[in-house]
């Protein structure tokens, strides 16, 4: 009987370990990965000079912290989770002149399906996406203006489940 008592006690203590903390090693909701390629030589990566991206939310423009005039050939951008469309302004040769953004600008329209994936009671869920549409212009603007610096795009992976590979190629 004493044995049974101690057994119950030990197991009670064991079962009380906390699972209410979301570990930092857990993968977060993946971002859309875009890689930039040379329009004349479509196998070669090409840097975009002074790239800046604004997110458009309810008519408001928000400059992305990490992409604010950098020169790079690949970017990760988070998608909007409260609706299945995200809109962006992609600036090339970006600079701010007297508090006004300056450069060559293209509108990016991204449409997707959202899938919720359960992670844990502490982290909640993450979203995965199925890319439906990726357009270098605003489809609701009529007539659609031609792209200014983006000459083409290819969707490489529709499913955005991780950040291990590029999802979209942009040629310029």
């Amino acid at each position: 009987m004493r044995l049974l008592f101690s057994l119950i006690l030990i197991l009670l203590v064991f079962s009380c370990e906390s699972d209410d903390i979301c570990a930092e090693s857990i993968n977060s909701t993946p971002r859309l990965i875009i890689t930039f390629y040379d329009a004349e030589n479509i196998e070669t990566r090409k840097d975009v000079e002074d790239l800046a991206i604004y997110a458009i939310k309810d008519g408001q423009l928000t400059l992305m912290n990490e992409i604010n005039g950098i020169t790079t050939d690949s970017i990760n951008i988070p998608l909007r989770n409260d609706q299945s469309v995200s809109n962006f302004k992609f600036y090339k040769d970006f600079s701010i002149v007297e508090n006004i953004a300056d450069g060559i600008v293209d509108h990016l329209y991204v449409e997707y399906e959202i899938y919720q994936i359960f992670i844990s009671k502490a982290c909640g869920f993450i979203n995965n996406y199925n890319l439906l549409n990726f357009l270098p212009y605003d489809p609701f603007e009529n007539p659609s203006p031609p792209a200014n610096w983006i000459s083409g795009y290819v969707i490489e992976n529709n499913l955005i489940e991780n950040e291990n590979q590029s999802h979209v190629k942009i040629f310029h």
């Binding site: 049974l4 370990e17 971002r31 409260d82 844990s120 993450i126």
Partner: protein, 227 residues
Amino acid sequence: MLKYFISTLVTLSCIVIETNATVSNDSLKKFGIRIGTDLQKIIRSASSQEYNGISFNADIRFKESIFMFSEIGNEKKIVEYSSIDSEISGNYIKLGLQFKLNKDIIGLRNLIYSSFGLGISSFNQTILRYNIYNIYSDLWGEFTNTDAINLENLNANWIEIGFGVKTEILNNLFLGIELQLKNLIYQKNKNDIANFYIPGFNRTYESSNFGTGFNYSLTYLIPIIKK
């Protein structure tokens, strides 16, 4: 639920009738079905907005120191974590054996026992609210989804060992406390979403199959044989 309760009683009464003939040489002084309820569930239901539950139990002595027991119950529970709120509701049944550990003292009918049983639960879970875990939420803002996710026809089985005491507070009326340790054998999940609570099993843990529980039971012994 009443249906289960009645059928449990009927099953147990059949056993009484069956064992009647065989125990005639036994030294049992009093024999009968003990039926009761878990006071802890009633108190929690009254005091907590997040919990509603009731259970009935019955046991019958069929050997000098062995009892057969059954418990049926219904529970509804809302669990709230930082990232998820969920509501679970369903029924359960437990069946098992209790082994008397103490010797009888004349004039006292206290019982110290350990038990071994099997639990079966059938339940539904509704995820009421959940956060989308996103470390890059500074761009678009945090997002909490309040579209409910309904997960229906879930079930689980577990084994349970228990340790308890029962003491007679009035003639044939017993008050008891029991501690339980449970181990899940099987559970059905939907959409890979964890069952945060299982009626009869209680809270679940992500890292193990163990569960714990206790009850305060009030039981009445219906005497059938008095020798």
